[in-house]
């Protein structure tokens, strides 16, 4: 097979049979390869040393509060969307010891954590999740306060992205302008094609490193027809979005509607269980716990993934600021969709749909926005008597 030289932005073909080689090359280059695999009735992210560990021939069926695995009629490697895990499982571990301390005669000594982080290769990263990782990059690696724990996991990560070949019932990346086509932040991006007896990937090269790695794997040139097929698949996925969110002036919409009756309505359904924030690929809040052992000679500081849905989250002297469920749900959604824009210059939502699927009672962020938009509170202080009557009616 001819191996033409490749550069960034080139598109070439990787045959299905050579996918294992790609994983092998990454392992040889000392990457810890992680990606989608079957586990506990879902597609989760875990160690991946063989192509056979991918959920070959499986897909998922998602809607508000439900997720089911289903068999596909083909042997696709990436024929599903995103599951309960996100890449923050690896980049922002749910529990992390920050340091230990040991008491001695004149005080105590801090023992720093010497973390040996093996560089990650993430296999099968979707466009929504690339946006999510880039959102967390901005939070943890930009500005004055860089998070060393995030940075040490993120800086050398290799990203093999996948252009989604299907959308699911809770997907709305098109609304959030975050997919389904992968446009940045990848080393290699593949579009999986299954036709008749051919099974291959159109691979777009995103970085020099991606080109270098692909060079060690066997590939061939892509012809016009194959490229067109790949483009068609992505366009088709974009038409399948299960959910839609109208984001027009969303910041002002939510800022103007703090007292909208819909918040009371959602508070009746919300369990404050925190599942939405835990599965959200951009939610980044952590808490810090200090522990001592019985002797009192040894202490540890732990960082744990936290959620704005707990009472402790907003606890200050005297009590929790957001005691009501209404205030907690409103805080989460308004931060995600509005305040995030002021804070980081982007939306905190990437339209992955995880918060809808994994909410035990199927609360749907797109539906909540719609309900507020369709019955928007009108600021009655600025309008006169007759208009006021009409507005309220």
């Amino acid at each position: 097979m001819i191996t033409p030289s490749i550069k960034v932005m080139d598109r070439v073909i990787l045959e299905r049979n050579h996918f294992q080689k790609l994983i092998d090359v990454l392992i040889t280059r000392d990457y810890r390869v992680v990606g989608p695999t079957l586990g506990e009735g879902a597609i989760v992210y875990d160690e991946l040393n063989s192509v056979d560990k991918l959920p070959i021939g499986w897909t998922d069926d998602q809607d508000g509060g439900t997720y089911r695995l289903k068999k596909r009629s083909d042997q696709a490697l990436f024929g599903y969307v995103v599951g309960p895990h996100s890449w923050k499982k690896f980049l922002l571990p749910s529990a992390l010891r920050l340091w230990q301390a040991k008491r001695h005669d004149n005080g105590f000594q801090i023992i720093p954590e010497n973390e040996e982080i093996q560089k990650f290769a993430f296999i099968g990263v979707r466009s929504c999740d690339i946006h999510a990782v880039s959102t967390q990059d901005k939070i943890f690696m930009n500005g004055q306060h860089i998070d060393p724990h995030y940075q040490s996991r993120r800086k050398d990560a290799f990203i093999l992205a996948v252009n989604c070949g299907k959308a699911d019932g809770t997907c709305f990346c098109v609304s959030m302008n975050t997919g389904p086509k992968v446009t940045f932040g990848f080393d290699l991006a593949v579009t999986e094609i299954l036709e008749d007896n051919n099974h291959y990937f159109v691979v777009e090269v995103g970085t020099e490193l991606g080109a270098e790695i692909l060079h060690e794997v066997t590939y061939r040139e892509a012809n016009g027809r194959e490229k067109k097929l790949a483009d068609g698949i992505i366009k088709n996925t974009a038409r399948q979005m299960g959910r839609v969110m109208d984001t027009t002036n969303i910041k002002d919409l939510l800022y103007k509607n703090y007292e909208h009756p819909r918040w009371d309505d959602v508070a009746k359904r919300c369990l404050t269980c925190a599942n939405c924030t835990m599965v959200c690929p951009t939610c980044f809040c952590t808490t810090v716990e200090d522990v001592t052992d019985l002797t009192g000679d040894h202490a540890e500081r732990w960082r744990k993934l936290d959620s704005c849905f707990t009472m402790d989250f907003s606890y200050i002297h005297g009590g929790s600021i957001r005691a009501s469920t209404k205030s907690r749900y409103r805080q989460w959604m308004t931060h995600k969709l509005a305040a995030w824009i002021d804070q980081f210059g982007m939306s905190g939502c990437v339209g992955c749909g995880r918060c809808i699927t994994w909410c035990p009672v199927a609360i749907d962020i797109t539906e909540e926005v719609r309900a507020i938009r369709e019955n928007e509170m009108i600021d009655t202080s600025t309008i006169s008597g007759k208009e006021k009557t009409n507005a309220i009616a």
Binding site: V44, T272, A274, V291, P360
Partner: protein, 260 residues
């Protein structure tokens, strides 16, 4: 309150199965450390040898079900600087609080050959219904790591890390896939207090709520979900009338669905 000298610990038992006290014995590896730092002054399950009060810390297991118990807990409170209620019985009345929904005399006549020997109160009540409790550690049984955490915290004068949030957070932190969403298994996790590290869902079972209600427990919304999953009212009542049947949120929810 940091205690400098070797503090005296007492472990008391009321109506209960002993499982929570056993959590202390179950500490095994850590038990020597406990004995090294704490003077285990009164712990009948471990030793007949007892030291008189007052005690720095009293761990109280079990619920109050007799007049004798109701008087005894007052004495324990008086001789204890800190009183920590451990387990579902001590913090909520326990499984024996199921009697609270019925007439206890009916049970006595069915269960005992000579009901005249039985002297019991109408209701099973938590320790906090009788005396001031400094800290409550929930669970049926309690988690031994949490017990060590509570003891360590009180020994060193800091707040125990026993977060009152949902079991869901524990599932998500350990990467367990939600059994209710992915498999349609009814699960009390979203309304239940964390602490067990989400054992049941990690074995593909729904949470039984054995750690009792979490903070701001929205049982009504979860019940609606159970109904949509096909659970009838009778079974909804059963799922809430278990280890924490008489805790406020679980009791109220069971009453909504109880048509008997």
């Amino acid at each position: 309150m940091a205690i400098k000298r070797k503090p005296k610990l007492a472990v008391w038992k009321f109506a209960s199965c002993d499982g929570c006290q056993l959590s202390l014995l179950d500490c095994e590896d850590e038990l020597l450390g406990v004995a090294d730092r704490i003077n285990i002054a009164y712990f009948l399950e471990a030793s007949r040898d007892t030291v008189k009060g007052p005690y720095d810390i009293s761990l109280v297991e079990g619920s109050i079900t007799t007049q004798h118990d109701a008087e005894h807990i007052q004495k324990i409170r008086k001789s204890s600087k800190l009183l920590v209620a451990i387990g579902a019985c001590a913090t909520a009345g326990g499984i024996q609080a199921l009697r609270n929904f019925k007439d206890v005399k009916d049970f006595i006549s069915v269960v005992y050959a000579s009901p005249k020997y039985i002297d019991t109160l109408d209701k099973s009540t938590p320790i906090s219904s009788h005396v001031h409790v400094d800290f409550e550690l929930q669970g049926c049984p309690i988690n031994k790591r949490q017990l060590l955490e509570v003891l360590s915290a009180f020994l060193h004068g800091r707040k125990p890390n026993t977060p009152p949030h949902s079991v869901c957070i524990e599932c998500k932190r350990r990467g367990t896939v939600c059994v209710m969403v992915a498999q349609g298994i009814p699960c009390l996790g979203p309304v239940t207090h964390a602490g067990c590290n989400a054992i049941c869902p990690s074995y593909c079972r729904g949470c039984y709520g054995c750690y009792g209600p979490k903070e701001t427990s929205n049982t009504g919304s979860l019940s609606s979900r159970f109904t949509r999953l096909g659970m009838n009212d009778e079974n909804i009542v059963r799922s809430f009338r278990n280890f924490y049947a008489t805790s406020e949120p679980f009791r109220k929810e069971s009453e909504v669905h109880n048509h008997l």
